[in-house]
Symmetry: C2
Subunit: 189 residues, 2 copies
DNA sequence: AACACTAGTAAACAGGCGTATACTTCCATG
DNA sequence: CATGGAAGTATACGCCTGTTTACTAGTGTT
């Protein structure tokens, strides 16, 4: 029962699918999003995903292609780059304010049990011990969280781009990053 | 046709399943590993996964429970912690099939086509432009790669632990980390 | 030796997935 | 107005998933 008929518009429907896919992929990742969820969120028929994008992977590829790069962050002076990057990253810590209510998510095949296991593991294995180690630092949790982000991010990038043996310079660089992250003043020679 | 019969041993079979699951989950992540893969790798029957661990998730939970935490890295003096963490992270950059470190926390369980899309995206969207920005730095690629790791890791942790609004201190900390990562000397006031 | 218990097995089940097909409905154009 | 093609739909297909059931076959105990 549709309250109001929508004019037939291939381009508009395509765009709705693209927008829905972008939001869902960004929030849940490729595998947890089904084409039925996308179609439902876009209020379009399932078959149109195949028709307009060939396949789920094709749609994903198009979403990726449209996503902005960090080139806009790079615009500006060199000295200010770290802060711009930090703000760029910080923006990602926010919850998306324009999150829509998605009907399909109610029946989604999401596995909350695993989500909880991973979450608990991340806490007990890395963040909490690290925070405890930091002791009375009021920002201990936030620091530990960021350190965990660097640790897991390294693994993720390595997995995506392939293994690359770390050089001594890499280790030095990571050391410096962890130093400032955890606010530990190393005894520099 | 089994060449040699194995003695019936519940505990041993359970352990074989656990070991197989650990290796597979570490390599491919939870979602891309099927119970049939685990059973096959352990040379055990599929039904035994359910019998001994309740479910695939139960088996995953048991694997997580057995994995070491970073507490061993924390053992030692505070000043040396950043370096120990760096070396811990660097170890993850190696292709280490025997590693007991569970990498499922940072996995991206994707079929090869998606893997390639993500990989290409990571390159063209973040790493390459960042490396080009850094110019003649011989370590430009390595630096960009590490910066990308921090960026993606933040997203990943946020996804696992839930969104948390960044504080000014967070942004400052990230700024400092990007500064040392990219070897950019900011103009501190 | 016979029994009871249990490790191990094979097969089926129900459901979700991405994808493809046959169909209906709309609209621009003759 | 008629009509052809495109937009959108409903549904089925084949596959693979985790899980469960009914069964077989070893094995320690009496």
């Amino acid at each position: 029962m549709r309250a109001e008929a929508r004019p037939r518009d291939r381009a508009a429907t395509r765009l709705r699918l693209l927008d829905a896919a972008r939001a869902l992929f960004a929030e849940y990742g490729y595998e947890r999003v089904t084409v039925r969820m996308i179609a439902s969120a876009a209020d379009a028929n399932i078959a149109l995903v195949g028709r307009y994008f060939g396949s789920k992977a094709g749609l994903f590829g198009e979403v990726l292609r449209d996503e902005p790069t960090i080139r806009v962050v790079l615009e500006g002076d060199r000295a200010g780059l770290p802060r711009r990057l930090a703000e760029f990253a910080a923006r990602r810590m926010h919850a998306d304010p324009k999150s829509r209510i998605l009907r399909a998510l109610a029946h989604s095949a999401d596995d909350p049990e695993i989500q909880e296991l991973v979450r608990e593991r991340l806490r007990t294995a890395i963040i909490t011990p690290l925070a405890e180690f930091l002791g009375d630092d009021p920002d201990a949790m936030a620091r530990a969280r960021t350190a965990a982000a660097l640790l897991t991010g390294i693994t993720r990038v390595r997995r995506a781009l392939g293994p690359e043996p770390p050089t001594p310079a890499d280790v030095d660089r990571l050391t410096a990053m962890f130093t400032v992250c955890l606010d530990i003043s190393g005894h520099e020679p």
